[in-house]
Symmetry: D2
Subunit: 311 residues, 4 copies
């Protein structure tokens, strides 16, 4: 399929279920995709940070994108992360995503290297020139350690280099300037501005975002779809209540003991524990070297699910 311009709605970053031996659990992945599609989501984003892309080998990544694309069979657009350090390495990931039939790729600025705004621009320009798929920029300063400026994003949008932005920076003011710039710039049409936040989706939609890519939508896709619909209907009071229910549910990412594990282990561990407790995936294990939630911590995830009416 061709990706809508702009892409709108709820586009969950799909978790990658693993077996106890830490291979991709294909049946669980397919059940998870079905759960999301039945939940009413408007697109899927595989191989993003919530998918543990940083922890998946290339073989795992290929298997994930081909499994999901062929399973959804064009019902929904599928975006694929192409997460790597620099242009040449990203292009290798773009190649198999395109071969698998993904509808767009999602790419960060260079990381690990000491980079520069001019090099970030060049990175996206070279990618766009060589990629058979539309390129979305992925702004994730917590991982990448540089922030994409709204000026750069808008310049690249106006030049047809970027098809959209997935903004996980947490900086709603900067996000707003992309939204406003994309609307007012005569040379920009069909550019998708998506928030990666779980917690201020209502705010982002209220100020003009096209959609959201919330990791927590793995656990509660219906909730985010309902939230999206309420926002589109302008029912801000009920939207806020739904968003607050989801904020409370998001508390699950705090059950992992920070003295014992990092933020990825706690956050992805909680999402996977939630999917496991809801019966969607067979095993809540996360990839090496992440630390597993304890039994007690998994139980506490269950309490968050129960409080949100999901068990």
């Amino acid at each position: 399929m061709t990706i809508p311009t702009p892409l709108t709605g709820v586009v969950p970053p799909v978790c990658t279920p693993l077996t106890p031996a830490r291979e991709v659990d294909v049946p669980s992945l397919i059940r998870l995709v079905d759960h999301l599609v039945e939940g009413g989501v408007h697109g899927l984003f595989v191989l993003g940070s919530s998918s543990e892309a940083a922890y998946l080998t290339d073989a795992h990544r290929r298997l994930v994108v081909s499994t999901v694309v062929s399973h959804v069979g064009g019902q929904l657009p599928v975006l694929a992360g192409a997460i790597d350090m620099t242009t040449p390495r990203v292009l290798d990931h773009v190649e198999y995503a395109a071969a698998a039939g993904a509808d767009a790729v999602v790419v960060t600025a260079p990381f690990y290297t000491r980079t520069h705004p001019a090099e970030i621009a060049r990175h996206f320009r070279v990618l766009a020139a060589r990629s058979p798929l539309p390129v979305f920029a992925y702004d994730l300063p917590m991982s990448v350690h540089t922030k994409l400026s709204s000026e750069l994003v808008l310049e690249l949008a106006a030049d047809g280099v970027l098809a959209g932005l997935k903004d996980s920076s947490g900086d709603l003011a900067g996000f707003r300037s992309v939204v406003m710039g994309a609307r007012s710039h005569p040379g920009i049409t069909g550019f998708s501005v998506l928030t990666g936040s779980e917690l201020v989706v209502d705010s982002a939609l209220a100020l003009g975002a096209d959609g959201a890519v919330p990791g927590l939508a793995n656990v509660d896709p219906e909730g985010y779809v309902r939230l999206y619909r309420l926002c589109r209907e302008g029912d801000w009071g009920r939207a806020r209540a739904e968003q607050e229910r989801l904020c409370a549910l998001f508390g699950m990412v705090g059950v992992g003991d920070p003295a014992r594990m990092g933020g990825s282990s706690a956050g992805l561990g909680a999402f996977k524990a939630g999917l496991y407790l809801r019966g969607i995936i067979d095993c809540p294990v996360t990839a090496e070297p992440q630390v597993a939630l304890s039994e007690g911590e998994v139980e506490r995830v269950g309490k968050y699910l129960a409080a949100a009416g999901l068990l």
Copy 2:
């Protein structure tokens, strides 16, 4: 060959010459290796940061390690970087490095992810358990955005997880505590403590380092070999003079205009320009999306070479 325990001396991180089309330039790479070997270096480190490992595809990386290992044919130990975000991805790089015949791998802490000291320890423990090659830790906080503590390095050394440390943190006090700890700990033998600095090699050797991995040794291997020998002989006055000559030469990394390019472009661009001007490699190009030095900047690299007696 088996890697010496400890590994001592000058072990340059070998630059990766590229063709104008940005493929690995194998004949230039071989000439560069010959230049280093003839310069008297004690080992080679391929696929590190100075090798533009972050910019090389897996195919490029495989070609580099197999080319260099087969060309040196066991005359010198060859260490190979296995630079990637997490344990599973690093293990894929370890596999081909081992197959190519490298003598050890060099690995950073996880990056891009939100990690934790417990996860960093687990990362190295899992790697050591599965790697057929000895594992050196690579401390490069500028790229990795976490610092390896000396406590963790020494704990992993005592447990036989790590065979050595390449410290490019710039923190000589922390480096010293690894040196002192490795010497005094009864459970640690043969552990290699190597500095990644170009500018304080004499200081590092004076306080007990086993060796150095200076990027600038690509351009002037004889200089670093001479410096190493003077330090080993305790001729600190002449060592300092040699080190200061090399510090002045290192000024070449500042010719690239910081308004126009990042630190990797400027630093690696200068090293490659130096190799090109000295007639060792055919083309000074760096990988995408790095910005090239201008003609005038390359000329200024030439002046640094001339001042150091290298042209």
Copy 3:
């Protein structure tokens, strides 16, 4: 007066006009206060970051707070920043603010020192115990280099240590968790949650903020008061339009050339240029060692004013 619990509405951080000799320009300061009061604001915050508190000597600070408090004469609550590195130094500032008759003090976590969450908590607890005035926490990680967690803020609110929060962190999701926590916690009443953002005031109010402390309200108090009223009336469409007008006006902080000056010089320079061009203050000079806007840059500030209908 006693400060309202909670404090609501628009509470501008009042700029500090200076003479060409960089003394406090008292007549201009009084005109600025009148301009704000006539603009309908609901409180005043002196000696914050937008007031150049970091650049004012203690004598300047004393003069500012006593001038403003005595001029407003209890019509409006006046909050005073007590910006310094640690508890003992902050207490000295609290003392003169209280003596001058301010209604509350606004205090950051310790900075310059290497601190710890337990020490930050202790800092606020000691301050609250010794301060005759209610204490607001000021979350400004860009300056302070630590972020106040919502857990800590809520704990201190529940214990009666903090009377409110001024959140200039840019992290709306964290801000929301304070708003939600303050509302749901049985032990918290009258706690004020204020956003320091200029650009997402509508979003902050929509999710439950009590008010806003926008630096740009110096230049356009009527705009922010109108925005506040529209939000309170639930007229989100017109609120968004007003907010977007203010976002466009805020573009003035980008006229200062980043190759020539830092963010404080550019931002505070633009606000003061705006006040000068609107005829409210006599001189747009900023404190040492800030760099002044050029004539051309000041002209461009004028264009922003004109576009926003303020000239």
Copy 4:
């Protein structure tokens, strides 16, 4: 007295003993100064980071500098920190330091504000123009969050703005470039280059530093004076052994539990516990809001003293 150009030798940053009520303990301060002078140090630095300057009120600071200057009575040069956020506030501290008779002031780049290299240069230029005392730059990126570049330091040295540098950045390579530049630049004479490190004083002196400002010299001034003498005599083997003894002693800063306190509490707490256990000061208390070492932790400080032959 006039400060030597350059200032050489060991110049301890003098701790500030406090009473249980956290007032300056003048008799203990005088005993500490006597202990240092008798230990053979070559100068004193009051109101630096190790002096808890960030925690001292202006009244405390004035008392410290006047007490120490009048007690040493010109036997030794006394440098005084003038630690504050910006130029105008620093100038107030310079004024009383000069009035008390200090021989030089030590000043960081602006902090808390969003600054710029051009503003940092302007800061030092304005200070030098208005200060009756010579100005030393204090490079402490851990506190100030910007690094002074060696280019800027050398430019300001050549223009007579700076009299010296106290480098606590931990970046020995950058330090070396100041040392080399100060020696080779025809316009620079008498400029003092001092390291703030405790752990690589031998390295710094070997590469040409004029002296050292080690916090640990409060506890063991004789050790650092001996180290300095050995380095000046070129007896590098015994110098290294002495430095290693001091490195082991420095381990005391790690006894404070990092789960319970920050780095300042642990480091300054250990130094003060050491001074207390050695009978030099009456009370080991640190300023608010720092967390005190536990009894067990103080005991462990004693073990470090004993191991170093200091009890």
